[in-house]
């Protein structure tokens, strides 16, 4: 027996990652919510299965599987995946939400132009000419290609001033 083996502490069991616990909790909560809601919808009618039967079964499956997953994790915690690039996630999601919120107001061309400029120039650090050309092609170019080429109408601005200049 070496000194090392005497002094080394036994390896503490790995713990369940908080994100995994949060995930299991969320799935269990959704399962229980669906179970309760589907009973209100009605499980069986005189004609056969009611609108709540299928969701009831799925809610039960989701809740039960969440419990099984929790038990599996408690017995042997799984390795968590690598973290995400938070800056990228925030930049993409927030810019998409803003774009969706203003698209009907500013129109597709202007809002998409600003969105692309943000991703190419501000976030991507591309040169001005490359950013401007790509943004114009992706906004004005896409608008005309979809409207006249594919007969798919993209939104125009709700502001009369912008509308009159073709935005």
């Amino acid at each position: 027996m070496t000194t090392e083996s005497v002094t080394a502490k036994p390896e503490s069991p790995a713990r369940v990652a908080p994100s995994v616990l949060a995930g299991i909790g969320a799935f269990a909560a959704v399962g229980v919510y669906v179970l309760v809601s589907s009973i209100e919808l009605g499980l069986w009618t005189s004609l056969g299965p009611g609108p709540g039967l299928f969701p009831f079964a799925m809610g039960a499956v989701l809740a039960a599987m969440s419990v099984v997953w929790l038990l599996q994790e408690l017995r042997r915690p799984s390795e968590t995946a690598e973290g995400v690039d938070r800056a990228l996630v925030i930049a993409v999601v927030v810019s998409l939400v803003i774009l969706a919120a203003v698209m009907d107001l500013l129109g597709f061309q202007l809002s998409m132009f600003l969105f692309l400029m943000y991703h190419l120039k501000l976030r991507g650090g591309r040169a001005w000419p490359s950013s401007l050309i790509t943004s114009l092609a992706g906004s004005v170019g896409a608008f005309y290609a979809f409207n006249y080429g594919l007969n798919v109408a993209l939104p125009v601005s709700a502001f009369p001033l912008l509308n009159t200049i073709g935005l």
Partner: protein
């Protein structure tokens, strides 16, 4: 003769200039998706569904099918030139494909891969022609109980798509079914899980969900450090393989066609499994097996033929039985449904003209890809030189347009963003996404047929066992579902399948 006439009618419909244009555009876009690492075929097909919403059903499905098998061609290019598979089914091609690039034989590798893909794809499509009529005639015998039984077989494929954890796969499948249930109940007309929002009465848009879960979440999970690759296209003269290379490739293509076709018919098997097993077959049976791994042409010809043969053969269960054999085919099935076509036995009785036009277009598409792929290799490689920031911005642009144009409402853009975050969370928790797309597509069909059947039988469940076709199919579905309990081991290739 009957089949021949129907197929000729299909060719006549598929060869209008509009449908040829759709097939051409589909091949082009599919190859680009295949070339771009990071966008898999599932996200790619979903992303491009909105482009087809305003087209007639035949043109739309022709274009989406071309996108689907175009990805299988495109994935090869980066595997051979960059050692980076554009899509999972081409991963094994990197071994000998890239080794051939290093010894100056990239052109021959790409040509053999394209010819192998053409051979495999065309032979598998001939199989579809042969199977279509006899299986399509089943359509006359299919009522709600049989349809429900088919859906049970379809849902049972969740077992094959489970990846590492069955529990996580079932969670993913249940989530897909719950998402599909949002909106007006198809039989009683009661609103379900709409939270008082009128916009949800029609349900959550399938396209917005798929684009979010597969496309946006993939983009959100990108990591830093992906530099623009330095890639050189081979010149035209080097694209011609030598006589010896042709002779060596022929047996590998034959084996690849057989493996891809056989596995493509089995729901739950993905193209990756076919290409892996084909490479395994070359290691065992090729006369030049000792050269494999060092730039042997068989290592490219076999797997590339197999994955394209698989892609086309996997359309047989979809067209004839309505069973999506892989996640990408499930998305394709969703596109059929959006166009008012229900794939399966009834397709050939109710929309025979459309079905045969699509089948004919598969032959045309395979030929187009052969013609497009090799000479345009310089164009495909130039796409890889586009900086990541520009590609990301353009992909986001397509996602927004795709989500918006479903109902011409920004509500669907918000839905896409929400499901993008859900997809990111599922990826982080290592929950497979494939079962979700399967149940999302099959769930509503399954529920409707279950409830219609039970209304016919006035609540008596024996309707499913008293009719021979449904009894056999339900038995088969249950056997697949409970196969893990019978200790039936999954092949190693299936456990390591990157597509699940």
């Amino acid at each position: 003769m009957d089949i021949f006439n129907e197929l000729m009618g299909g060719f006549a419909a598929a060869m209008t200039w509009q449908n040829l244009l759709f097939a051409f555009l589909g091949c082009l876009l599919g190859t680009i998706i295949g070339v771009l690492p990071g966008i898999g075929p599932v996200a790619g097909v979903a992303l491009l569904i909105p482009l087809t919403l305003n087209l007639d059903a035949t043109g739309a499905i022709i274009m989406l099918c071309a996108i689907f098998y175009g990805t299988a061609y495109g994935g090869t290019i980066t595997s051979v030139l960059l050692n980076t598979p554009g899509e999972a089914a081409s991963a094994i091609t990197t071994i000998d494909g890239y080794a051939m690039t290093r010894i100056g034989k990239a052109g021959a590798a790409l040509t053999i891969a394209a010819v192998g893909s053409f051979v495999g794809g065309t032979i598998a499509t001939l199989g579809l022609v042969a199977a279509a009529k006899p299986l399509g005639e089943l359509g006359l015998l299919v009522g709600p109980p049989e349809f429900f039984a088919l859906m049970v077989v379809g849902i049972s494929l969740l077992v094959a798509l489970a990846g590492k954890s069955m529990v996580k796969a079932v969670i993913s499948g249940a989530l897909g079914l719950l998402i599909a249930m949002v909106g007006i109940d198809p039989v009683a007309g009661a609103p379900r899980f709409t939270f008082g929002m009128d916009r949800l009465l029609d349900g959550v848009s399938f396209v917005a969900v798929i684009v979010g879960v597969f496309g946006l979440s993939e983009l959100l999970s990108y990591r830093k450090g992906s530099a623009t690759p330095n890639v050189h296209a081979p010149n035209l003269r080097s694209l011609l393989p030598t006589g010896k290379e042709w002779r060596r490739s022929a047996p590998a293509m034959a084996r690849g066609t057989g493996i891809g076709f056989g596995l493509g018919l089995i729901p739950g098997m993905t193209g990756s499994v076919s290409s892996l097993l084909s490479y395994g077959a070359e290691k065992k049976f090729s006369r030049y097996r000792n050269e494999l791994g060092k730039g042997a042409i068989e290592g490219v010809a076999g797997p590339e033929t197999a994955n394209n043969s698989h892609a086309n053969a996997a359309l047989i269960p979809l067209f004839t039985l309505g069973i999506p054999a892989s996640p990408t085919i499930a998305v394709l099935m969703g596109a059929f449904l959006q166009q008012g076509l229900t794939p399966g036995p009834t397709l050939f009785t109710e929309h025979s003209d459309i079905a045969w036009a699509i089948i004919a277009s598969l032959f045309i598409g395979n030929l187009l890809l052969l013609v497009l792929n090799v000479p345009l290799v310089g164009l495909w490689t130039s796409i890889l030189r586009v900086p990541t920031t520009i590609l990301t911005a353009l992909i986001l642009l397509f996602m927004v347009i795709g989500a918006y144009t479903i109902n011409f409402s920004v509500f669907d853009v918000f839905v896409m963003i929400g499901f993008g975050l859900l997809g990111l969370a599922l990826r982080h928790l290592d929950i497979p996404l494939a079962p979700m797309v399967l149940t999302l597509v099959l769930g509503p069909l399954m529920e409707r047929s279950l409830r219609e059947s039970l209304e016919i039988s006035q609540g008596d469940f024996s309707i499913f066992t008293s009719r021979p076709i449904s009894a056999v199919l339900i038995g088969l579905g249950l056997l697949i579902i409970f196969s893990p309990l019978l200790k039936l081991r999954k092949p190693k290739a299936l456990n390591e399948d990157p597509e699940t």
